[in-house]
């Protein structure tokens, strides 16, 4: 039933497909527009406090990362003394196996899940399903994606690419095979759809023996995990089962309880555009007589230490998965999340995926280019991750990795030719004269005109087509600036 991103094409190919889907573009434009307006109103309400708050949020996460080993050891010690069992997992396979082993130890064939990016990242559902354990997603958007056999396309709202009519169809078609069917008179009102999800999932909550979660924050000082949510499905999974397994990326650590403050002020405003999300759960290991009496915490690396070793890129590990950068991104708004080929789409995905996986795969290598570098993401980021800076840094790494290629890429060849021409004044003059000549010819042949009246060339043949299919190329001017200067002595002699 579940699909994965394995085998997705590079971003430009996937993006072209997405751009042709007018329904998708309509859904995305509507949803991101709604959330941008809500967030903007709350940032406005914070006034002069907002910027210091962002600085504080960034400082908390950076402080945690800068001394990560110390904080992880404190967290482990506190969790253990609170009755939790701490596991360490180098990669996705190790983490998924811990969860499967816990499920098997309790002889269950199903688990209920809190929405969690990290369990999507490690492909936990697929691993459990392959071994006969059903993993029920209980967040509404995750449920929609799971029922439809679809892929997530947004960090906060994985079904953002679906509108209400599509959700209604999915519920009517698929709910029966997963449990309680949708009522026959289901309408496409969001409140009615939410009520159908409540009925469908309730029997699963009430009978579940094992719950699986991630965590938004892990407080080292007190050994507390924090889950921020809206629907109460998180509370159900964290409270009703006898056993709870939480998979936590090592970058989720917050050093002290008091430092949760700026993060709890930043996250809800940046993600759902609310002063506070409906429910936040904080728990420290096992609480006698309240909630799961067997608690496991899996501390996961899975590429995070690779990202940490990158001096420019390590700031990406401050990310609190709010998705504000997705909602303001002009590229994401048009292509949607699937084009990024990862559970982490949008601007943060464009840097996080290469940092976690390293260079070399064409799909991953295409992601740092999935940006116009407009900087809206940096401005929206509540923990001030300078995404454009990291994008440029990662592009450098991709280019550097291809320097010794026997057959250079067209772009590299063009850059080499440009370097040859620009390194010598007489060579440049030669090129300018040639361009001027071609400009006079081509200028007469073109039919399109750029703002300002200058002629534009149509689609170029050969390798130049990659550039000109999506951009206007101005026709070269008949005379270069340097040639004009020489001819008119800088405008002192008449020559117009």
């Amino acid at each position: 039933m579940s699909r994965t991103f394995v085998g997705m094409p590079p971003f430009p190919t996937a993006a072209r497909e997405a751009l042709a889907d007018t329904q998708l573009r309509h859904n995305l434009a509507h949803a991101t527009g709604v959330i941008r307006a809500k967030r903007a109103a709350l940032v406005e309400e914070q006034g002069e406090v907002w910027e210091p708050l962002r600085l504080a949020g960034a400082a908390v996460k950076q402080r945690a990362l800068d001394d990560l080993a110390t904080h992880l050891l404190t967290l482990e010690e506190q969790l253990t003394s609170a009755g939790a069992t701490v596991h360490w997992a180098r990669d996705a396979a190790e983490a998924s196996q811990v969860v499967l082993d816990v499920a098997r130890a309790h002889d269950v064939d199903e688990v209920v899940k809190v929405k969690s990016m990290v369990t999507a990242e490690i492909g936990l559902n697929e691993h459990l399903e392959a071994h006969g354990v059903a993993a029920w997603e209980t967040d509404l958007a995750e449920l929609i994606v799971q029922l439809a056999g679809d892929l997530p396309s947004h960090i906060l709202v994985p079904a953002i690419h679906r509108n209400r009519a599509e959700v209604r169809e999915i519920f009517l078609r698929e709910m029966a095979s997963a449990g309680r069917p949708a009522p026959a008179d289901l309408t496409d009102e969001p409140a009615v759809l939410a009520a159908a999800a409540r009925e469908h999932l309730r029997e699963k909550f009430l009978r579940a023996k094992v719950g699986v979660s991630g965590a938004n924050f892990a407080i080292a000082e007190t050994g507390s995990l924090v889950v921020v949510e809206s629907e109460g499905n998180g509370r159900m999974c964290l409270t009703l089962p006898e056993v709870l397994v939480s998979v936590v990326g090592i970058e989720k650590v917050v050093p002290t309880w008091a430092e949760l403050d700026p993060l709890m002020r930043l996250l809800p405003r940046s993600s759902t555009g609310e002063r506070m999300n409906p429910y936040t759960s904080v728990w420290s290991g096992v609480r006698e007589g309240d909630g799961p009496q067997e608690v496991h915490v899996v501390l996961l690396d899975n590429g995070r230490t690779r990202a940490l070793a990158d001096q420019v890129g390590r700031q990406a590990l401050r990310c609190i998965r709010c998705s504000a950068c997705l909602n303001v991104c002009p590229v994401y708004e048009r292509t949607g999340g699937h084009a990024y080929g990862s559970v982490y789409p949008g601007p943060i995905g464009a840097i996080l995926n290469p940092l976690l996986h390293g260079q070399g795969d064409p799909q991953t290598d295409s992601l740092p280019y999935a940006s116009s570098l407009c900087g809206a993401c940096f401005e929206a980021c509540p923990v001030r991750i300078d995404i454009p800076e990291v994008l440029v840094h990662l592009r450098t790494q991709v280019v550097d990795a291809h320097r010794s290629d026997r057959v250079p890429k067209a772009e590299a060849a063009a850059m080499r030719a440009t370097a040859w021409a620009f390194s010598d004044a007489s060579r440049l003059g030669l090129v300018e004269r040639a361009a001027g000549l071609s400009g006079r010819v081509l200028g007469r042949l073109t039919r399109s005109t750029l703002p300002g009246g200058r002629a534009a060339l149509g689609r170029l043949p050969g390798p130049g087509a990659a550039w000109t299919t999506a951009r206007d190329l101005p026709a070269p001017p008949p005379e270069s600036f340097r040639a004009w200067w020489a001819r008119t002595d800088g405008g002192r002699e008449d020559g117009s």
Partner: protein, 205 residues
Amino acid sequence: MSAREEILGRVRAALADVAPATEPVVGPLAVEPTDAERLDLFVERVADYRAVVERVAEADLAAHVASLFAPGDRVVVPPGLPEDLVAALAHPVADNALGAADLDAADAVVTTAAVGIAETGTIVLDHGPGQGRRALTLVPDRHVCVVRAEQVVADVPQAVTRLAAAVRSGQPLTWISGPSATSDIELDRVEGVHGPRALHVVLVD
């Protein structure tokens, strides 16, 4: 090498160039409101989430809470709920290790709270006496929560400070801002998913 040793080794190697900051970070603080402003804001912000919020005097509390229920409503009461509140209810159901199905069959739950946050319209339970274990305020479809004026703080930093002792002693917390809700369909907020669909906050001042 164990996964633990290997991960910690990778972390240390990755951070060889970094000198960590040792001082905890303190978030920016806003202007302190007066008592009246604080309580007015709390009421306004709780109502923003489409929760029902009312202010009652101490003397009227028990009768008022009792009046919120229909005669046949089975109302779960956690251990430590003030006795006059329990006595005023027609059908109190004590939490004698009630199962999830028992809680699902109840009509409502009445609790106290640990902290109210004015700026965000949030109530926080630390699950001490009068608040019950976490499932009690989750499974029943209606939650009536009694908050006292002196429990309402101005903002999140003050709440975090006030809750520190409970967290350090291992108590879980539940922060509640309105009835359960979702924005998962077209990012349009609708109330009423898995948690209580009705939240009723009674502010005693």
